[in-house]
Structure formats: structure tokens, C-alpha cells
């Protein structure tokens, strides 16, 4: 074990931590802009997407700096394992654990995105939803472990980032685009979306012919298409993947 410590490692850790947090705030906000189809006139939609991808790369680099400088620094006895495995740090166990959770999730999101061409789309989308959880963990980690985050400017920055992303989440939900149906959405929490303005409308009085005798003036055979009453109405657990 190298006993290496200098105040500058400690400063770097704290500084890169903040920068990483701010950058990830930017990443998540840009992500919501992409998902809500912002752009097309002044700024191209693909530009927002590219910005999202590029900033995420920079954010991850700062995150790696943050983690490395923390672990190398023997002033804080965290240990290498604690980067990935929560609750194994000797220093501020819970705080670092939350950070490890955040890092694990960010790693999953990032690697699945790097391999986006190879991964199935539904898998990628499922993993990508966890970026919200990753950010929440990052905020919690900043508050719990951050030497600076408990007061003053540090707290202000963390609070600002949290507010920004919370607002983005709300806006993301409110302004979500009307898709044809939830059929391609793969969020673990996505609710069933009703038909949007462009989607087929339900029963209309214009065409209410059914397979029955007499209504149409044409004799038709008995209804063999009647739905049996035992039909399950609520979706089975398996169908959650398309809600």
C-alpha cells in the first residue's frame, strides 16, 4: 500500500467531484431534451444528442479522476473495492457506498451506450432509465460525503444541481411525446399511456355494426368472436415490458 497523501490530491478529489456533479446535471438535462424531441429549427435535434453524448464522456472522465484521486489518497482510507462494492469503505461508509451505487449505475449506463450498436434496443433503454437513479445517488453521495457540501457554496451547488434535475424530470414527464402506444417503451416504471391525439379513437357512433342478426339487414352467423368472460383484463406481469 502506497502511503501517498498530499493536500492537493484531496483538493482534486473534492473539485473533480463537484465538476463531475455539474457535468452530470448537464448530461441528464440534455438527455431529457433529446427524449422530449427538442430542437429542429435553430438547433438540430441531432446536435442536442451529440452534445449529450460528448458531455457524458467528459463527465465520466472527471468522475474517473474523482474516484482515482480519492482511492490513491491514503488520507481517506477507502480502498479500491469500495469503488464498486457498496459498504466496504472504512471512511464514511454510507456516503461512499451511495457513491459506489452511483458509479455502478453510471458504468452500466455508459458501457451499454458505448455498445449501443450491439445491445438490443429494449435492453439499452431499460438500463438507461437507471441514469435517474444514478443521479439521485450522486446527489446523496455529494451531500453525505462531501466535505464542502454540508454548508455554504458547496451546499448551494448541490442543491442547484438537484433542483435542476428535478425540474428536468418533471418537464420530461409533462412534455413527453405522444407515441403511438407504450408498445416500445421499456421503463420499469412507465405507466400505460392512453391514445394520444393521433392515435385511433375508441368506439364511435358512426360505425357500430356488430356481428349480430338484424342490425345490418344482413343475416350473419352467430358471434364466434365473442370474448369469453374469463378473459384476463389486467396485463400479465410479462406485458410490463410494453407498458
Amino acid at each position: 500500500m502506497i502511503s501517498l497523501t498530499t493536500p492537493y490530491l484531496w483538493y482534486t478529489t473534492r473539485a473533480t467531484g463537484f465538476v463531475a456533479l455539474i457535468l452530470f446535471t448537464l448530461v441528464v438535462t440534455l438527455g431529457t431534451l433529446v427524449a422530449n424531441r427538442v430542437g429542429g429549427t435553430v438547433v438540430g435535434r441531432f446536435e442536442v444528442n451529440e452534445l449529450h453524448r460528448s458531455v457524458s464522456l467528459v463527465a465520466v472522465i472527471f468522475l474517473v479522476f474523482h474516484i482515482t484521486t480519492t482511492v490513491i489518497d491514503s488520507y481517506v482510507p477507502t480502498g479500491w473495492i469500495s469503488i464498486l462494492v457498496p459498504m466496504t469503505s472504512a471512511y464514511r461508509r454510507v456516503g461512499v457506498a451511495v457513491g459506489a451505487v452511483a458509479f455502478d449505475l453510471i458504468l452500466a449506463v455508459w458501457i451499454s451506450s458505448l455498445l449501443k450498436v450491439r445491445v438490443k434496443n429494449e435492453t439499452w433503454r431499460f438500463i438507461h432509465w437507471f441514469s435517474w437513479l444514478a443521479f439521485a445517488s450522486a446527489i446523496l453521495h455529494a451531500y453525505l460525503t462531501g466535505t464542502d457540501a454540508k454548508s455554504g457554496a458547496g451546499l448551494a451547488v448541490v442543491a442547484a444541481c438537484a433542483t435542476c434535475v428535478a425540474a428536468a424530470a418533471l418537464w420530461r414527464y409533462v412534455k413527453r411525446p405522444t407515441r403511438a402506444a407504450g408498445r416500445t417503451a421499456l421503463s420499469p416504471l412507465a405507466a400505460s399511456k392512453g391514445p394520444g391525439p393521433g392515435a385511433p379513437r375508441p368506439v364511435s357512433s358512426k360505425a357500430s355494426s356488430s356481428f349480430s342478426r338484424g342490425e345490418t339487414g344482413v343475416v350473419t352467423p352467430p358471434n364466434t368472436r365473442a370474448k369469453p368472460e374469463s378473459f384476463p383484463r389486467s396485463p400479465s406481469p410479462r406485458s410490463k415490458k410494453r407498458r
Partner: protein, 425 residues
């Protein structure tokens, strides 16, 4: 005794009272032995009866040449078209013929399993198949292992990739298949999927041979085929006819009311044919000149007191609701077509623009879905614009049409279900 050149073949029995295994063996007994099943199938020129009319032998050969031990035969009895009853009628008359054919196909490709898929909303057919399977099991018939699966009924549930996807993942959603030819797979096992009627024909060919099969039909469209005739008719009928008979003959046999205004051929995804062309032979080669096909053997006759525009609007509205909503052009385009047609039917102010929009949107939507559902609707709308051009103009200018005067609908359209009621699994 199955004589050559004689009908009925498939419907040799009483519809509604399926033949038991013993009766089936007695009815279709033969001393003729078929040497090579695949060659007989090829010589017979049998094409698929599910609507696409793909040569059955070619499909079987393709599956046979696939590597891998476990292959599966799937018998498609879903019958997604609401105005088609031929598959359930066949299962209610000669289910064992279908199972024979499936067993033959299984032996050709080397499959050990056969899955018969019937719509769960059709309990009669399910019962018929289950009874037939039980009879076979009790008789200890050798051959592949049969299994009955009941999928929920949707228009697209009978589409082959949707059916196989349901067997895999419990959702009747059509799949994107860019590679042609593309092999359907259940888990990793290659699937040979054929319509119920096709399997029944295979069963006949396996007993009586290709030469016998070819005694009926034209040179290209061989054998007999089942047709469902509904619409301007006293009682909807399922008939067994032969390619080459004129439409007029078919309608006469069905006892349809004479001189229909137009015919809807091929189902909801088919096309309209003007009533003036009733002397056209009922086979794919002759019908292509009017942009129509035999499809899944469906004829709906539109009476003289009906209106093609109204009928088309009702069908398109239902078809739009039956979209799997996976692809944008279908999910949004079909309801747009339905709205335009509704505008035309109601004769609103923008009805004339609606007609132009219909033409334009048909061109935009065509061919851009993963399956052929939007293509079918586009084909229907385009044929309606052609055949009922005068009626479209009449509606646009506000003249009341024949249907509004008579109050009659000829194309039976099922009830529109709310989105929450549509069950895909």
C-alpha cells in the same frame, strides 16, 4: 371414395359435425402410395391458402434444408379476417385431414413437433381440434407430437411473424423481417408455418398424389380452394370451389343475391372489384388485371342498395384500431385515413380535400410498416377510390347515398374495441 375431378374434397363431410378418426380413415381411404412426399407436393403446384399464395413445396424445401435438429410445424388456424369462416368450417368438418397434412409436412422437414394455433375466441374450433388430437392420441398414431395453442384473436394475430412471436413471447406483435427469405424461429428452432387449409390439401396430396390433385384447377392455380361468401346473401356460405370458375358461378353456387354492385375480394386488406366484371375467372392470374387477389378466399358482395364509401370507411376504422401500433405510419396513418373517410361519408365542408388527402396519404403510408397491415388498408382504399369514384364525388357534394336511404351494411365489421380492451397476449 375420392374421385378425381370431383368436389367436395376438403368439405367432404358435414360442416359442424367433424369426422371422427375412424370416419376420416374410411372417407379418405386409398390404396395409392406416394413415393416422395416433397416431390409430390412440388408436382402438385399447391400454393398457400392463407392469403399470400406462396408455393408450399418451396417453403417446405427451404425448411428442410435448414440445419438444426429440432424444427417445428405450426398450423395457422387463427383466421384473423373477420369475414372469413373457411378455417373454422374446415376444422369443424375434417380436422383429421388437417392433422394428416401437418404430420406430412413434419415428416418432410424432419420436425418432431406440430403446434396447432387456434383463436381462443373461437371455442368451437378449439373444441374440434382438441377432440381430434385426443382421438389421435388414443389411437396411438405415430408421428410428430401435436400441441394445441390458443392465441387471443386479433386481426394481425394470424400474421405469421405475429403468431410465432406470440408462441415465443406471449404477444401477438408482427415482427420486422428485412431478410427475404426469412426463417421464423421458436426459440432457436426453425418453423414451417402453413395455413390450416394448406395443411388439409397436403393431407389430400399425401393420400392421393399430385396427379389427382391437379385434376381440378387451372394449370397455375391447382386444386380446389375454400371460399367464404358473405354480404348480399341470404346465409353466408363457405364453399369449396375451383380456380377458373367465374365469380358469377361462385356467387350462384353460394345463392347470393344476383347482380351485386361490387365485390370485396381477399378480405379487409384486399380490394374492391366492380360488379361489371363478374365473368372474370376466380383465380390470382386473372384477377391481377383489376388489382385484386383471391387472398384468403373471401368474397363479400355489396348489394345494389349499399354504398361502397360507407363500407370502406367502417372497415378502415376497424382496421386502424387493430393496428399493433408499433410503426408510426400505421399507428398514425391508418386513423388519419379513417378520419378522412369519415369526412367524406359525412359530406363535411372539407370532404373534397379529404379525397385528395386520401390519395396523398395512401402514397405516404404504403410499404412503410413492418408487416403488410397498412399496405392492405391502402390497397382497399385505393381500390375504393377507383371503383366507387362516382360515390365519392356524390358524398363530397352532399348527395345522400343508397346506404343512407336503405340503412343496410353488407360488410360485417366487428365492434370497435377500446384500446384497453385490445388483448395481445
Amino acid at each position: 371414395m375420392m374421385l378425381a375431378q370431383e368436389l367436395p374434397r376438403l368439405l367432404n363431410g358435414t360442416p359442424g359435425t367433424p369426422l371422427t378418426l375412424g370416419q376420416h380413415e374410411a372417407t379418405f381411404a386409398t390404396s395409392f402410395k406416394v413415393a416422395s412426399l416433397l416431390d409430390e407436393l412440388e408436382a402438385s403446384g399447391l400454393t398457400g391458402r392463407g392469403g399470400a399464395a406462396f408455393p408450399t413445396a418451396r417453403k417446405a424445401r427451404l425448411l428442410r434444408d435448414q440445419r438444426g435438429h429440432n424444427k417445428v410445424v405450426v398450423v395457422n388456424a387463427m383466421e384473423g379476417e373477420p369475414v372469413s369462416y373457411k378455417d373454422s368450417t374446415l376444422l369443424g368438418t375434417n380436422p383429421h385431414l388437417v392433422l394428416d397434412g401437418a404430420a406430412i409436412l413434419a415428416s418432410i422437414i424432419g420436425a418432431k413437433d406440430v403446434i396447432v394455433c387456434v383463436s381462443r375466441d373461437n371455442p368451437t374450433a378449439v373444441g374440434n381440434v382438441q377432440r381430434a388430437l385426443d382421438e389421435r392420441a388414443r389411437a396411438g398414431a405415430r408421428g410428430p407430437e401435436f400441441k394445441l395453442e390458443t392465441a387471443p384473436w386479433r386481426y394481425v394475430a394470424g400474421e405469421e411473424s405475429a403468431l410465432v412471436h406470440w408462441l415465443n413471447d406471449n404477444e401477438s406483435l408482427p415482427q420486422y423481417r428485412p431478410q427475404r427469405p426469412s426463417i421464423l424461429k421458436i426459440r432457436h428452432h426453425a418453423v414451417l408455418l402453413d395455413n390450416v387449409e394448406t395443411c388439409a390439401h397436403v393431407g389430400l396430396i399425401g393420400r392421393f398424389g399430385a396427379a389427382w390433385f391437379r385434376t381440378l384447377g387451372t394449370g397455375v392455380s391447382t386444386g380446389s380452394m375454400l371460399v367464404t361468401v358473405t354480404g348480399a346473401i341470404e346465409r353466408p356460405k363457405v364453399l369449396e370451389v375451383v380456380a377458373g370458375m367465374t365469380l358469377r358461378t361462385v356467387l350462384d353456387y353460394a345463392n347470393a343475391y344476383p347482380n351485386p354492385q361490387a365485390l370485396l375480394l381477399g378480405g379487409y386488406g384486399g380490394s374492391w372489384l366492380d360488379g361489371a366484371h363478374l365473368d372474370a375467372p376466380y383465380d390470382n392470374e386473372s384477377l391481377t388485371q383489376w388489382g385484386a387477389t383471391v387472398g384468403a378466399g373471401i368474397i363479400v358482395a355489396l348489394g345494389r342498395d349499399g354504398c361502397g364509401v360507407v363500407e370502406t370507411q367502417r372497415v378502415v376504422q376497424w382496421m386502424a384500431n387493430e393496428s399493433a401500433r408499433q410503426c408510426g405510419p400505421c399507428a398514425f396513418g391508418l386513423p388519419a385515413l379513417s378520419d378522412d373517410l369519415a369526412d367524406v361519408v359525412a359530406g363535411t365542408r372539407n370532404a373534397a380535400q379529404a379525397i385528395d388527402r386520401l390519395e396523398h396519404r395512401c402514397g405516404v403510408i404504403d410499404g412503410r410498416g413492418a408487416c403488410r397491415h397498412p399496405d392492405g388498408v391502402v390497397r382497399l382504399v385505393r381500390s375504393a377510390l377507383r371503383v366507387f369514384a362516382a360515390d365519392f364525388q356524390g358524398h363530397a357534394s352532399g348527395t345522400p347515398c343508397q346506404a343512407s336511404r336503405s340503412g343496410k351494411f353488407f360488410v360485417a365489421v366487428p365492434r370497435l374495441e377500446r384500446e384497453s380492451e385490445l388483448v395481445w397476449e
